[in-house]
Symmetry: C2
Subunit: 273 residues, 2 copies
Amino acid sequence: MSSLPTPLVGTAVAAAQDNGAATSGAGAQSPVAAVSPTFSPLYQQIKALITQSLQSGEWKPGEMIPSEMDLAARYKVSQGTVRKAIDELAAENLVARRQGKGTFVTTHHEDGVKFRFLRLVPDEGEPHYGASQVLECKRLRAPAEIARLLDIRTGDSVVQIRRVLFFSGEPTVLDEIWLLGTNFKGLTAEKLTEWKGPMYALFEAEFGTRMIRASEKIRAVAADAATAALLSVEAGTPLLSVERVSFTYGDRPVEVRRGLYVTTRHYYQNDLS
Amino acid sequence: MSSLPTPLVGTAVAAAQDNGAATSGAGAQSPVAAVSPTFSPLYQQIKALITQSLQSGEWKPGEMIPSEMDLAARYKVSQGTVRKAIDELAAENLVARRQGKGTFVTTHHEDGVKFRFLRLVPDEGEPHYGASQVLECKRLRAPAEIARLLDIRTGDSVVQIRRVLFFSGEPTVLDEIWLLGTNFKGLTAEKLTEWKGPMYALFEAEFGTRMIRASEKIRAVAADAATAALLSVEAGTPLLSVERVSFTYGDRPVEVRRGLYVTTRHYYQNDLS
DNA sequence: TAGTGGTCTAGACCACACG
DNA sequence: GTGTGGTCTAGACCACTAC
């Protein structure tokens, strides 16, 4: 097929390394030039390979991945190409670059990243985690609505959690969570209660499931009697309803969460650009 | 100071082009190497220069900016450096690249960008603009709270607008808007009413003020009697309160907006990553 | 055919962190 | 000092768009 030096030979990259037309280029330097129909740049292929290694656990959260030069040698491409691949992964928060040190797999354990998914900010003072009270944690069969969001079949196994989050000692968030049953075997209320810190850090450490991305739908609703009691507000109090679907590698949904937020002394922060 | 070829000579870039230490580099290729204390990469300086030209109106919204090669020649740097500067501007939505055509100044007129700042999505069907009914548009002296957010003095002139947005014929959003008085002289209810399309497109076209970025604080509140009447809901209905501060070039605030959203058939969409 | 942005390479040097 | 990411350059070629 290709008489020119081909990178990625023997790898899992499927992209056809084939120049359909007879391009002149005697000393052609760019070795890849898949013409049609599913052309993807080299750096995208590299990015996919690195993502695979992240997903397979070859490099674990918090660890350093190989240097750009090492990766360039491994994939037989230039450092610049690896760099562009890593740039995108860093933009997606899958890895974090630290000058002089290396590139590290991001983790939900770090202080700076703890509030990546919790956008509730107090009117005064710094964001902070309060206590978490687990009300319930049980396995059950997925209702139709949850199954649809998790891309599974109605009746498939899921884990349901209900909990209250306290900020500055006040009940502020009531969460109802559904997790993919297959990914969270052995999750118990005890484990949740013992765990200090973000829930996603527990998922990452104990179940090897990293939340990468989430999508939220936000509404204003009135607190029903049961909710009001749990959050120490009057029935009918306006609450923020936050319906979240969280995704792991490959955009596979693994969690559905409905949060009810008391927004008298906190607000949901969002930046548009 | 510098015996090496210096780019950006005679430009407004202030960064000291000065190598404090005697770096050996005989055939040094990178001409800039400001050492301390306010070092900024060349491409950041280029980015600042391009931003200036955008702000000054040298290239207007919708227009094409010079090609990368032209800009490289203009600033006496390599194409790659210009490229990196433009990459960041594109990431911030100040410009948009179109392969084969050129790089264009973004505008609030384009179809695809109309919903950059309005995150309210209907439960069913596509996002769409409905009618807008202007209730009020007058100049007044800024209250303390608004002045603080706009970074002006209490009592300085501002323009206040109140309006209702209709989605599918139903009143859905009640907006209360304060604009910097100096930037919006001559804005009248008539102009607002006549204008079809996004308000930010009007601001851009008629007043030369582009909204670049915004920050929102979201809460759930109960509709008071007056609000309820305007939105055709019952008093006490939970509404989404969205407090937005919008910024133009240089992160200067120019608008404060408080929106009250009816979220029975719509939701506020947000993606976390 | 010409012009634009997009990809890829190779090599040099700078800034930063750590032993 | 050594190794890491970060910047900058110069040049080649590819993909897309328009004339």
